[in-house]
Amino acid sequence: MSDVKVEAVELAPVDKLVTKQLPAAEIVGESPLHHADLISVAEHGPQEGGVHFHERKLMGLLTLRCLPSAEQQEVIKALLGVALPMQPLTSVTADDSPIGKVSVRWVSPDEWLIIVAGEQAFELETRFFEQLTGHYSLVNISGGTTIFDVSGRHVVDMLKKSTPVDLHGSEFPVGKVVSTVFAKSGAMICRVAEDQFELVVRRSFADYLWLWIQDASREYGLVVHH
């Protein structure tokens, strides 16, 4: 085997290990809902309904763990193009950061989820390890996670069947993010627009959650987009 010539990687004496994880572009990754063939569903399924579904697949997702000092915050801001959201349950996005479009979501006082384009994850990891010093960890979780984009006029009704969190606009404004129970699994839910949410879910649960969402949306009509 060897259509792609790869140089042998050797372990250098480094503090932490960053390795490239994506192959060359001709090898296409399979997202957690690959088997569901959402392309056909989108094409042949209903085109109208109260809930819309779209898998934002193969994105770059990174978990940052850190209790950032002022200095670290400055470095991180330079790396991401946006300041870390320090307020609990908030998120920030930027379209024109040094690594392109980025969304940074608060998870806990020492944890954030960073979402970038899939091919940017390694680049961002590399820059972090080159430029950010002190105690922190940055972990690429792109393969273990996917994003469900759900929207529509009945999206809140569907979500109310699935999560115990209060989704009323007064309690859950656009930009708010929570990690919570979703069906019998979990999800990180971010309101990205009035009638649009992103659910960050774990790969192994994706099929179950997809089934759940189909079921919970049935009475409103579900439209799948590709």
């Binding site: 090898i27 393969g143 273990g144 109310k160 209060d166 019998k184």
Partner: protein
Amino acid sequence: MTQDLSKQSNRLLEGGRIDRAKPLTFTYNGKQYKGFEGDTLASALLANGVDIVGRSFKYSRPRGIVAAGAEEPNAIMQIGSTEATQIPNVRATQQSLYAGLVASSTNGWPNVDMDLMGLVGKVGGKMMPPGFYYKTFMYPKSMWETYESYIRKAAGLGRAPKENDPDIYDKMNQHCDLLIVGAGPAGLMAALTAARAGARVIIADEQNEFGGSLLSSKETLNGKPAAEWVKDVVQELSGFDDVLMLPNSQVNGYHDHNFLTIQQHCTDQFADRAPNGQIAQRLHRVRAKWVILATGAHERPLVYGNNDIPGCMVANAVSTYINRYGVAPGKDLVLMTSNDNAYRAALDWHDAGRRVVAIVDSRKNPKGTFVEAARERGISILVGSGVIEAHGNKRVTGVSIAPLNDAGDAVVGPIVKMAADTVATSGGWSPVIHLSCHTGSRPVWNDDILGFTPGKTYQKQLTAGAINGAFATKEALSEGASAALDALSNLGLAKSDIELPETEAIVEGKAMALFHLPHTKPTSKAPKQFVDYQNDVTAAGIELACREGFESIEHVKRYTAMGFGTDQGKLGNINGMAIAAKMLKQTIPQTGTTIFRPNYTPVTFGAIAGRDCGELFDPKRYTAMHAWHVERGAKFEDVGQWKRAWYYPKGNETMQEALNRECLATRESVGILDASTLGKIDIQGKDAREFLGRVYTNAWAKLPVGKCRYGLMCGEDGMVFDDGVTSCLAENHFLMTTTTGGAARVLSWLEIYHQTEWPELEVYFTSVTDHWSTMTISGPNSRKLLEKLTDYDVSKENMAFMDWKPMTVAGVPARVFRISFTGELSFEINVQANYGMHVWKALFEQGEEFNLTPYGTETMHILRAEKGFIIAGQDTDGSVHPFDLGMSWAVSMQKPFSFIGKRGMQREDCVRADRKQLVGLKTLDPNVVLPEGAQGVLDPKAPIPMPMVGHVTSSYWSANLKRSVAMGFVKGGLDKMGEKVFYPLADGRVIEAEICSPVFLDPKGERQHV
């Protein structure tokens, strides 16, 4: 059987909130009847003159409809036109009528009109005194099943469907500022007040329309019929985005911290089966910042002789059937009351054109608005008197009336008999305090209203209206508004402009405390005076319980079964307490309080289950290669929520044949396992090593970058709970693996110690279980296979056993770990999970020449057992420490920090010489496979019970060794090598085995080092 379907003999010619243009046909006990849209099943049955709706539990007496709401004890129906849509335990008073409804009475065998058990009841009434459960049915035990089926049939508990319910039931989480329970005058007024202030409001009511008592009242509000005010308020409320109105919705449970459950009937008030795509019932799980209970009150019937004959009703139900449903449930009414309020039943009866035989009032000198109205109509009022007995069999034919003393507890004059077919009674009103009790609040007795009202609560709960004893509409409206204003103030919301509607001036005289009417005979000899209709508890039964020494009302209830029916004694409990109190010569509050538990009315299993059934019952977790396993015909095994390939049968192979093939192929050439489910935790930080040293039993300080090490994790008690390999990725960067089932627990374990004990250690843990697809190629040809897919030098010299290396496999960047759970040369290839399938398939493309064989968890178990490798959770059970496992090599007692488990495993009991220790077990007959779990003994001839020395934990047929292999615990086993242990089995066989090293294959470990 033919009959005139249009005949509704008790239907009034006009009135009611029914739609006479929409007649509906329904079936009750196999006969067809007609009712109208807007009817309940109960009102339709009464309209058709159906008197008997069931037979009583103990005495099998005929029973009729008593009430008009949730408190109904008798009309308990089985609903459903098909087997799959059967619903038991439905109160006819709460079931809306729909076309095609099929109902049957659930108690009454062989039928309600002619009941064989009636004979038993009549002859054997005395044979079933209170406590009969305990006295009669306890012995003999072997008869219990017979008794149970007999009781169930007779007790009217209904039956579950035998087919799957096709309907969808679901749940919805709700949040609000204010949940208002009950949409009568108090609830509606509260909702309006809160809604206008901009609060998020949910208002729920069990009935199909909002309005509560106002729907059956002839009162006016603002000079218009009350129902018009209701209509206006509902109209206004429906205009608020933040108001959720839930009719047909029973608030059934009030739980801690203002969490309430509401069962909403979405379609089963108009259809047997939900129309396609619609939800039949929805359970709302509500978290309310504040709650207003405006649940109203239930009228108490009076206790008198034969008060259960069909035709005996509570007074308010009579009014409701007339005013709301246009049904007069009889011709000639006698009203028996201790208060003014109930006079309305006689007024309504009279105004409906039926004859009021008499109003019998226990008070000497009643006066008030309704009393005057009765006198104006020329209705005869017998004061200072009581109905002491009803006459009749299947329907009331008359009553005995007698003058009473001032206390109302003795007959003081001659009896007068009067003919009547309906007896309405009222002993006053009992506030519906049930929900307020659910969180542990004990109700308090209120002498002014002769009832219990809600007591001190720790919930953010307010109450308004009849639940507080504010029975008059004017007071209820006012309390509703002020409760809402209190809630708004508590919520920090601005008050709204609100005006109370004008009400009629009504004066009511003082009610008399009357619960149990006297008879000329002592209670024990008088005709049965029923307290709890559903459980056939009589006044005599309660008195007997008191005489037998039961003093606490909680004990009396358990002994007599009062309040233990599906109605939880809504009508009877207070009468029963009053009778017990009198017997015990104390007050009702001294006798105790009565507490109600969730749920307020029976809830369907469907609503409780919601969508947590079928495919959605529990999450199924899949690896990135799952579709391949399915295509290859794998059988799956549940490991936690994971679906793991168990084995891959080919053609007609049996499981054992498939396992033999998989085992041989792996040891002879190369096999492959999807190991993606193993827990994986990324650990970073300068104190990562130190942390590992504290949570694992062995040493980590010197593990070089690029190396892997096996570790055992113990609890503080020293007992093993998980194990796995952890690899050093970089100086301050590790990858820990855990068992598949232990992943979440291990991550929590690391976090709790880091957060609560050692926060000063600079280390972070992040789960990467799902991020990496893990495929293990194992066997002598695994290196050759890997070489075909990578340019990296994977030779022994460059990549030794327990090394890990980054490389590219099949074009995908990978981390490859040379670790082995089979004892063979093995490579564990990890790639980002989106590329797992690509690499897996590439391995098979290249693996054909080596007969690359996929194997599942069962072959993995066999191969590791041949090598004596443990599985945490199979060979450990929380009571074994590393030394018990013979794994002292994995414990470093010299580490400076006292690692988790070190102190525990040195306790006195843990260092006993005769602890059970894990050893290999070689059966004398190599073809016999020990059953896992079999208990070993040293002397199979010892008398029973034989001293047991330990059980078999792992046991398999080894195709490679052509014999069975097993591991198990034996007391002091590590010092018993070569000795015999015996396994007597349930089938009489005794299997003999020799204690040996658990390493059956390649004891020097040469194969994995090649």
